[in-house]
Structure formats: structure tokens, C-alpha cells
Amino acid sequence: MSGETAHIEPPLAGGVQTLGSITEKISSIAERKAPRLWYLAFGAAFSLLLVLIGSIGYLVFEGVGIWGLNNPVGWGWAIINFVWWVGIGHAGTLISAILFLLRQRWRTSINRFAEAMTLFAVCCALIFPAIHVGRIWVVYWMFPIPNQMAMWPNFRSPLLWDVFAVSTYFTASLLFWFTGLIPDLATFRDRAEARIKKIIFGVLALGWRGGNRQWKHYELAYLLLAGISTPLVLSVHSVVSTDFAVSILPGWHTTIFPPYFVAGAIFSGFAMVVTLTTIARKIFGLQDIITINHMEKMNKVMLLTGMMVGYAYSMEFFIAWYSGNIYEQFAFINRAFGQYAWAYWIMISCNVFVPQLFWFKKLRRSIPVMFTASILINIGMWFERFVIVVSSLAQDFLPANWDYYSPTIWDISTFVGSFGLFFTLFLLFIRFLPMISMAEVKGVLPQADVHYHEAGGERG
């Protein structure tokens, strides 16, 4: 990338970077002593993780009755949190895989970061369906494990599809992430001084030497994994949406759900990446590698996907009216004006109105604006799931069943605690692993161009 394109596309790394400076800058983060701030952050995150562990412990001991669930609202915060975390887990693989296939090379500086975020978000997500069941100790019955009781799962149930979709997604994302890490792990191994580090990184680097054949195989494997991951990005949230869409509940039973959920997932995933990168690039001084151009591109994606979910919101209303089904119509009017109207309007404000700020270039490139907006969008996307899950369940077919759902302290502590898990894993990641893909960033530096040394030469 040079010559003409350079006029259109600003450079993907700022400052004066050499191949060596990239290695030095990124490796040193993991090699030098962690800043005080890291310890503070880790302490806070780990405390929250203990809150999560405590909350789950009490849940297992006492039962899901400690949550605010009731009849008719059989699913509450746990499922909301699950969908929300899975949604967040979308941007990572999307950035990595789809943008890789589309040759969007601006992804290189944020993909590692985003992939890690995906994995940790999916970890958080996976907790919730596992613990929300009544009998946690037999949750493995969801898996098709041959057994002497001749019991077999019911493949008609979307919850089972979920089990496969999310675990497949997690496995593929993990492999994709790990494959991408191999050259960088080798770099770490080569730079390691302590024997223990040499051994660990040596094992993890899988004998990488950076030879031509290795690169050839590596790039093919990476391409294949990207190809495998891409449909998964679309499928996992489509399948999650079928948890709702396959039911007969007004407000859930909607064919628009799969694309709408995928758009929402990408939307919230990018919002989370923006939140995290704005912090990380500040703390670790990575402004030159994750540039404002990268941030702007992510904001554009949020503007687009935000409008897609806005379209979905309005289309749901149209269909409810057009269907002529009184239950459907009530469900949607009730969302906007019923007992959960406050949640609905938080959702609309955060998800539809806030992204409109990004029409303006100045706002799109303002770190404080995008940081605030990304957090608001994450809040809005949480409320989207709240509105879907709770408002539909609380007031369905027979008014005699209607009830109001409110969370208990344990709902809140479990959700807040899940951030503890997320940030603990994330902080460990940025402390011990290369948080930016060195090998790939080098690939987009001008020096990597084979014609770099021929001034003004075309790219090969």
C-alpha cells in the first residue's frame, strides 16, 4: 500500500515506524514491569470476579429463586446477559475474519485485541446459560452423550442449537486467535530471557521459525480459518436469535430476528472494541499503531449497524400492525408505552439516536465522544435484550398471567461479576501476550512493500 492509494488512504500506522520499532514497542509491554495502573485495574477486576464466583456459589446452593424470575418471566438477566455478551463477542471474529477476507488491512492493529475480546466475552456469555438452569449439576444433559439411560437431547429445541452454535463459535474463534498468535509467540520466545518464559512460549509457538514454507502454510491456514469463521459470525447470533424467534410468544416470534440480531451483535461488538481500545491505546501509548483513522472506521461501522437495528425496530412495528394479530400489536405498543416503556426508550435513545453523532467527521474522530457513545451503545444494546426478553414474557397472551419483573441483588451481582471475569482475562492477556499482531502490522508498514526501496514504484 503506497503510491496512489496512499493519497486516498492515510497510512495505517502513525509516526516513524520500522519493523524493529514495532516489535520493540509491542513486546516490551509484556516484558517490562507492569505499570501501577495495571495492578490497580487487575485488583478491581479480580475483586469483581470474586463477586461472580460468590454469586454463582450462592445460586448453586439456593436455587435460581434468588433471582427476580417469576411466572411468567422465566428468563431474566441471565439470558439478557448471555445474549449481550455473545453479541459483544461478535466484533472480534468479524474484524479478524471478514475484514481479512475483504482485504481490509486497517484491521491489523485491532484484530488481536478484538479477537481476545471475543473469546473473553464468549466465556462470560457461556456462564449464563449454564448457571441459569434449575439443576446446574445435570446441565451436561444438553450434550449428546451416549448413556445407559438412553436419553438423547431434543434437536428440535433452539437451546440445543445454541449449545452447538456458541461452542462451535468459541472453538473456531479460539483456533483463529491462536493461529494468528503463533508468529508473535515465536517473537516472544526469541526475546524471552527467563527460562520459564522460554519454555512456555516455546511450546506455544509450535516450533515457528519464520521460514518460507511455514509462512506459506500459515497464511493458507489462516485464510481457511477466516473462511470458516466468517459464516460462524453470521450463524451464531442467528441461532441465538432463534431462541426467541422459534417460540410462539408475541415479540419473540419474528422472522426478522436473525439479521437483526447479527446487526445488533456487530453493533455492540464494535462499541465494546471502541471502549476497550480507547482505554488501552491511552494507557500503553499505542496511538501510533491504533490510529484515530482506525477508530473512525469503527465508528462508521457503528453508524451503519446502528441504523440497521433502528430499521429493525421500526420494521417490527410495521409488521405487528400489518399482521393484524392483536397479540402482536399489543406486544409492540406495550413495549413503547407499557410498563417497560422506560427500558424501551433507553434502548431507542442509545442505539438509534446516539450513533447519529457519527455523521459528523469531527465527532467521529473525537476520542471523548466515541468513548461516551460506545458505552451508551453498550447500555442500549443491553436494554434491547432486556426489552425483548422481559417485556414479551411479562405480558403475553392471557392478562391474568401478567406480572412485573424486577431483578434482585443477585441478578445484579452476577452481571457485574461477569465484568470481573472479562476484565481479569483481558488484563492477563495484555500483560502476558502481544495485544497487537506484530507480524501483521509489519505487513502493512511501507517497509513491507517489496517495492519499498524503489522510490515511487508500484506495489507488487
Binding site: 435460581v64 429463586g65 422465566g74 428468563w75 444438553m142 429445541s157 433452539p158 431462541d243 403475553d396 391474568a400
Partner: protein, 792 residues
């Protein structure tokens, strides 16, 4: 007893007494039990009487009433019910026309009606000045004249019933009208009661004698006067002046704690005894089990007191029956009575007591904002408080308010507005030094400025379940006004306490849930119920189940017969080991009832109509719960049942979310984990006791189906129609529930399903429920039909 203790005073106190409906006749020494024959009455008028639920013999009344209301074809006749009442009762909910009138004005209403009946040509001798006093009233004249016309038109086939809490003169007038309308001997007969002791609200002799120090020993047989005696008797204080006191009681209750001795009394199911039904039929009470806690039967205690001899209750009862059955062949006749449960032909002969009309005078001034009236009514579940320690009954939602585990002062929306009270606001009622704090509950259909205070709550020594549940309304109940009273002051305290209730929304939102029509509309279009919903063709992508062989179970519930009492809920709870979860869980919406009764109001906010619908698992053919369960814990069986496999359930609750009827119940906690041994003994051994984390729901009493099938198989035949009776069906006093094999075209349930009023709830979602409903039919008076359904 009187012979043994010549100086003893005998008194019978009953906190909820029906003495006034049987002892207003000539000759005060006798009392006559009215027997209502609702099955013969075309037109029924209830004057503040909840004859279908909270009054004596209500189950019999409900059964007979439902018979007269039953229709199967558009050509059938059904009765018409007018209800004039202050509170909203289950009976009021069944009314074709309901008029809200304060209880204190019921007498004036009855007088106005009498005058109207007379004006319409009925011969009634009324005191002079009657017309002057009661002719100029503010009741709806059109309503009264239409009612009178209807009564006159159905002469000999109508019945007027007065609530037992109404003052004696009202009953005299009601009796006069029943005589004039030719109901005596037709719709109303009397049996003579041979009570040695008449129960009474009023007999305050014990308390006053005790206060004067004239009682040295007191034996209290049953009852709980320390809790439920009028507040001005100050029974607890009176008891202190008595040297020796004994309480023979099933429970160590408020009274037992104050008496010197407590004798544990055996329960009726643990002891022998005998009793007479309302019509005088004699029966023997037989124990089901030896006394669990060494209690003594009431008969044994009485025998000991009277003779000084200790005798087993069995022998005492046999001794009595030897005189009843006569000497010859006693053993065989005794066994026959034991087998049948009652002595055939022992009913009293019907008598016609002479009417008297005292100097009657009724209040004609309505209670207003400054002096709202207070009406004490027994709780539909706890009655006078005696059942307060029964968790089933505490948790049974009130059929009208849907409150459970709490009572509340029931007030109309307008009363709340004018008294400036919010729903759930703890309100203070004061009368002299007596005070009561109780939350108010705004109930549409309540008469304005008439406040209903349910009795039976606020026990302090009922037991583990019943202590400190609700507010004790006896705290302001006085002997001179035990039923209809006033207070000196009512004001809100500003504190809000929302009682646990099982239904937050009272309107059907225009949805075709409980489908109803007037008799006229039904005759014009018998298929109206099914035509209320339009839907596309119902097709499923899954193949149908094959039921060509064997059985296929189904149920029909006739909404026209259902009065909404909740007996089915309790029947189901006891049969199926449904746990009690307590106030906190109920207020969180986690009650476990497999069969619930939905109650909706239709019409205006102030004065609506009330409709009920029992809803249990509908056993859908295309069950939405079955397809979404990831572990196949809820599955369809070969006989069409939707079964729960408790052991397989992991508790995702998806089935419940996807159930359009929301009849599935989840064990949020281990509700059954800490059962005492005695409660364990009460569990049905044929039904699994469920533990934490799993879903449960109505099984159509699968255990009963299996038992019948096994029996039939052993006898080499098929299960006969009517052989399987579900617990709800068995408990229903009005026979509103029909269950059986719908493969059998001859079966009763199939016949019901063919009735044109048959519809399936939410059938438009192609769930194909096996449970269906027969639409409700009302029979309003054509003369009043142009009006709003009810004028208030």
C-alpha cells in the same frame, strides 16, 4: 349435662352465625332451617347473600343452582339471577343483574321491592305507613320494577334469599315475599331443627357473668373466643376472673393459651361422632385414622363430663344409634348406615313455619363519606379464622380479589378517591378505643361507602402457617353490630403494603379469552364462541399423532357452570402434592397451583361484571413446550397427554416461556425439602414429590388414569366412561369439569365437546389444546337489557 350440673350455664357462641335466617318465626323456642331449592327456581334474587360460597351449605346450593343454569342446546331454559349486594361476592359474579347497594340499605331495598310486588298485584299484608316510609327511595326504579315483574311472572318458580348477616326484620320481609310469590313448598322448604343450643353472635352471658365473678369453672368446647369474641366482651379479661378454665380444642390457639387447661381434641377424621345435615338427615362421622397425637374425641369429653365415665367415642356413638335404629338387627342396620354414610329417610319432614312481621324498621339513609359502613364477612378460605393454619387455604387466592396470604379492607374506587386512600395504603379504623390497621384494596363492584372487612386473619396463635398473617378485623367488631357496623374514624396512614395477589391485571383487553353471550344472542347464533376468532388454516409441519387405537384423553370446562370458587385448585393441590410456597413467593409471582382460576372484570371500572375461568395445562396436541425443551423432558404420550419427566428436567424454563397459557410451574427453591414428618404423611404416594429446579404442571391426574387402566386391564375390559375422575372434577361443586376418552364417541366428554358453545382457548395459534371450554351464557332480563349490563 343439665341434669348433672343443674347450676351450669350453657352458651353457644358462633362468630359467623346464621341464626337470623332460622329463628325469626313465631314461637322463639324452635328454629327452622330453610332449604333452598335452586334447581326449581327460574328466578333467584339474592339480597346480600353469597349462597354460592361463603354461607352454610354452599356446595349444595352451588350444585343445585348450576343444574338450573345448565344448557346444552339453544332451546334450553336457564335460570336468572339477580343479586343486590354491597361487597362483590362469587354469587354476585354469577348474577345476570347485579345492583350495588350498601348492606344497611338492603332492608329498605327489600321494602321497596315488596311495595313494587304489591303494586304489581301480589297479595302482601304490609303494615300501615310502609309505603310512606319506604316508597320514596333512591334505588333504580326501573330495575326494581323489572325485577318485580320477572318475579311475578315466574310465580311459584322464584326464590329470594337473604344474607345471614342481615338483620332479622329483613328475613321476615324476605319470608313474606317468598310466601307471596308462592315459593314455599316449591323453591323453599323448612326443616325443624332440634338444637339444644342455638349458636349465636349475641349470647354474652358467659362474659358478663365471668366479669361479675359468678363463674368458677368454664369448659370451652371447641371455638376460639379469645380470638373471635366481640371486642366489647373483653373475653380475655373475663377469662382471668374464672378460677378453673378448660379448653377442649384441636389447636393450641389463642384461647388455649389463656385457659388453665387445654385438652387436645381429636380431629373429625380421627374420631367417631354423628351429625345431621341441613335437612335433618342423620349421618355417622367415621374416623380415617387413629388419633395421631393422642387427642380425645368431642363425644368422649362430653360423655366424661356428663357421666364421669370414660368411654370410647365409638361406643358412645353406637349407644346413641341403638336408640335411633332400634334394637332388632342393630348390627346389620348399623353397618348399612356406616357403608352409606347416612341414614336414609331420616330427613325431617318439611314444615311451614308461621310468619310474623314485627315492628320492622329499616335504615333508609345511605352511608356516606363521613360514616362509611363496615361489613364483616367470613373469608372464603379461612372462614372465621379456624382454618388459618392451613397453608392450602392461606395460599388459595380469594375468588374475587385474588389476594392470598392477606386480607384487606375492600373499597370501591370511588370510596378510595373520596377518602383519599391509595391501593394498599394501610388504613386505620377506629371505634372508641378499638383500633384496626389494615391495607385497603380497591375492588371494582364494591358498593360506594361500604367497606368489606374479611374475618379470619391476624391470628397470633394459629400455628407455624397462620400466625401473623393479615390483620385481625375482630379488633373492631362489637357485639351490638357484629355484621354491619360503622366506625368513628377512618384514615390512611400513608404507609403502603401491597398484599400478595396472584393476578395483577383484571381486564381481558378485548381478547377472546372468556367468551360469553346473552341467551338471546346465543339462540340467534349458537356458534358464536368459535366465530369470535378468525384465523388462517391451522396446519402443522409435523405429522399428526396416531390415536386410532387406545384412548385419547380430553377435558371440557363449562364456564356457564363454573362459579370460580377455587375448590378445584385445592383438590388438585392435595391430589398432586403441589407445594405451598408462602406469602413472599406468591407476591413474587411464584405460586405453584397447577390449576388456577383467572378472574376478569368486564364493563366499567366502578361497577363491572365478573367472570371466571379455570386454567390448567391444556395438553396441546401441538404443544409449544415440547418442541423447545432441549432435553426432551416434556413429551407427548400415546394417549395425547403432555407429560413431564421430572427426572429428566434440567430447568431451562423455556417450556414455560413458550406456553401461551403460562400454566407451567417452576420450583424456584426446594419447596418440599423441609417437610415435617406429618406433612410427608399427607403427600399422595402415587405422585412424585418434586424438588428444586424442575418444572411441573397439570398431568390430567395421570396417576388416576393409570390406576383405572390397570384395573380395567386386570378385569379384561376397557376403561369405562366416568371411571376416571380428575381431582379438580371431583372437587367441583357445580360439575363444571368433564373428563374422559375423546376417542369414545359415546363418552360424556365427547358429548360436551360437541356442544355448540365449545371453544378452545388460543386455538388460533394452532396449539390444538385438548382442554376446551363451553362459553358462558348470561340470561339478562330483556326489560333491562338496553341499559348498561348493571346499573349501580
Amino acid at each position: 349435662m343439665k341434669k348433672t350440673f343443674p347450676k351450669a350455664v350453657f352458651s353457644c357462641y358462633e362468630p359467623v352465625s346464621d341464626e337470623r335466617i332460622r329463628s325469626f318465626f313465631a314461637g322463639d323456642d324452635k328454629s327452622f332451617q330453610p332449604l333452598y331449592h335452586f334447581e326449581r327456581a327460574q328466578v333467584v334474587l339474592s339480597l346480600d347473600s353469597d349462597f354460592l360460597l361463603t354461607e352454610p351449605d354452599s356446595a349444595v346450593h352451588a350444585a343445585k343452582f348450576a343444574e338450573a343454569r345448565h344448557i346444552e342446546n339453544p332451546g334450553d331454559h336457564m335460570n336468572r339471577l339477580y343479586v343486590v349486594e354491597s361487597g362483590f361476592s362469587v354469587t354476585g359474579g354469577m348474577a345476570d343483574h347485579r345492583l350495588r347497594v350498601q348492606s344497611r340499605l338492603i332492608g329498605a331495598f327489600a321494602a321497596a321491592l315488596t311495595l313494587e310486588l304489591k303494586a304489581q298485584g301480589l297479595r302482601i299484608n304490609l303494615p300501615v305507613k310502609f309505603g310512606e316510609l319506604y316508597g320514596n327511595h333512591s334505588f333504580d326504579r326501573k330495575w326494581i320494577s323489572a325485577l318485580a315483574a320477572d318475579l311475578v311472572e315466574n310465580i311459584n318458580k322464584c326464590l329470594i334469599v337473604g344474607g345471614p348477616h342481615l338483620p332479622r326484620p329483613v328475613h321476615e320481609l324476605v319470608y313474606m315475599m317468598n310466601i307471596a310469590l308462592g315459593g314455599i313448598g316449591e323453591t323453599l322448604t323448612f326443616s325443624e331443627r332440634q338444637d339444644t343450643l342455638k349458636p349465636s353472635h349475641y349470647d354474652s352471658r358467659i362474659a358478663s357473668l365471668a366479669k361479675d365473678g359468678k363463674i368458677s369453672s368454664l369448659i370451652i368446647l371447641g371455638g376460639n373466643p379469645a380470638y373471635n369474641a366481640p371486642i366489647d366482651w373483653d373475653f380475655a379479661e373475663a377469662l382471668k376472673k374464672i378460677e378453673h378454665s378448660v379448653h377442649v380444642s384441636q389447636y393450641l390457639d389463642e384461647t388455649s393459651r389463656l385457659t388453665e387447661w387445654h385438652i387436645p381434641q381429636a380431629h373429625n377424621l380421627e374420631s367417631w361422632g354423628d351429625a345431621r345435615a341441613a335437612d335433618g338427615t342423620a349421618s355417622i362421622i367415621q374416623p380415617l385414622i387413629a388419633p395421631l397425637f393422642g387427642g380425645r374425641g368431642k363425644v368422649e369429653v362430653l360423655k366424661l363430663l356428663a357421666t364421669g365415665r370414660e368411654e370410647r367415642d365409638y361406643n358412645v356413638v353406637r349407644e346413641t344409634w341403638q336408640t335411633i335404629l332400634g334394637g332388632g338387627d342393630f348390627e346389620n342396620r348399623w353397618r348399612k348406615v356406616l357403608h352409606e354414610g347416612f341414614l336414609d329417610g331420616s330427613a325431617s319432614t318439611s314444615v311451614t313455619p308461621a310468619a310474623v312481621l314485627d315492628e320492622i324498621s329499616f335504615p333508609t339513609d345511605a352511608a356516606g363519606i363521613t360514616n362509611p359502613e363496615i361489613v364483616f364477612r367470613p373469608s372464603p378460605a379461612l372462614y372465621d379464622g379456624r382454618f388459618a393454619n392451613n397453608g392450602w387455604l392461606q395460599e388459595l387466592p380469594d375468588p374475587v380479589t385474588k389476594l392470598a396470604w392477606d386480607n384487606a379492607a375492600l373499597i370501591s374506587p370511588r370510596t378510595a378517591r373520596e377518602l383519599n386512600l391509595k391501593n394498599g395504603e394501610i388504613t386505620r379504623f377506629e371505634y372508641e378505643d378499638h383500633k384496626l390497621e389494615i391495607p385497603v384494596w380497591i375492588l371494582s363492584g364494591q358498593a360506594d361507602f361500604s367497606i368489606t372487612l374479611p374475618l379470619g386473619y391476624g391470628r397470633t396463635s394459629a400455628g407455624r402457617v397462620g400466625n401473623n398473617v393479615g390483620s385481625n378485623t375482630y379488633a373492631i367488631r362489637r357485639s351490638e353490630a357484629p355484621c354491619i357496623a360503622t366506625t368513628s374514624r377512618i384514615y390512611g396512614t400513608g404507609k403502603i403494603y401491597i398484599p400478595a395477589n396472584t393476578q395483577d391485571h383484571n381486564s381481558m383487553h378485548g381478547r377472546p379469552i372468556i367468551r360469553e353471550a346473552t341467551l338471546k344472542k346465543y339462540k340467534a347464533n349458537p356458534e358464536f364462541a368459535r366465530e369470535l376468532v378468525e384465523h388462517p388454516p391451522l396446519k402443522s409441519i409435523y405429522p399428526d399423532h396416531d390415536y386410532s387405537k387406545g384412548y385419547q384423553w380430553g377435558m371440557v370446562i363449562d364456564l356457564n357452570r363454573c362459579i370460580g370458587c377455587g375448590a378445584c385448585t385445592i383438590g388438585c393441590q392435595s391430589e398432586n402434592n403441589v407445594p405451598i410456597v408462602g406469602r413472599d413467593q406468591v407476591s413474587r409471582g411464584r405460586e405453584m397451583h397447577w390449576l388456577r382460576i383467572d378472574r376478569y372484570f368486564t364493563g366499567g371500572i366502578e361497577n363491572p361484571r365478573m367472570v371466571h375461568q379455570p386454567v390448567a395445562c391444556q395438553h396441546c396436541e401441538n404443544a409449544p413446550c415440547e418442541s423447545v425443551c432441549p432435553v426432551a423432558a416434556t413429551v407427548h404420550d400415546k394417549e395425547g397427554l403432555n407429560n413431564m419427566t421430572y427426572n429428566r428436567c434440567i430447568g431451562t424454563r423455556y417450556c414455560s416461556n413458550n406456553c401461551p397459557y403460562k400454566v407451567r410451574r417452576f420450583n424456584f427453591f426446594n419447596y418440599t425439602g423441609r417437610m415435617s414428618e406429618i406433612v410427608k404423611m399427607a403427600q399422595n404416594p402415587d405422585v412424585t414429590v418434586r424438588s428444586r429446579g424442575i418444572m411441573e404442571k397439570c398431568s390430567f391426574c395421570l396417576q388416576r388414569i393409570s390406576r383405572a387402566k390397570l384395573k380395567a386391564k386386570k378385569e379384561g375390559r376397557r376403561v369405562a366412561d366416568g371411571e376416571i375422575i380428575t381431582a379438580c372434577q371431583q372437587a367441583c361443586p357445580t360439575k363444571a369439569i368433564q373428563f374422559g376418552n375423546i376417542n369414545d364417541i359415546e363418552s360424556e366428554v365427547t358429548r360436551w365437546k360437541k356442544i355448540d358453545r365449545n371453544y378452545e382457548l388460543l386455538a388460533e395459534f394452532n396449539v390444538r389444546p385438548r382442554n376446551s371450554y363451553l362459553a358462558k351464557i348470561s340470561n339478562p332480563n330483556p326489560a333491562l337489557i338496553s341499559d348498561k349490563p348493571v346499573a349501580g
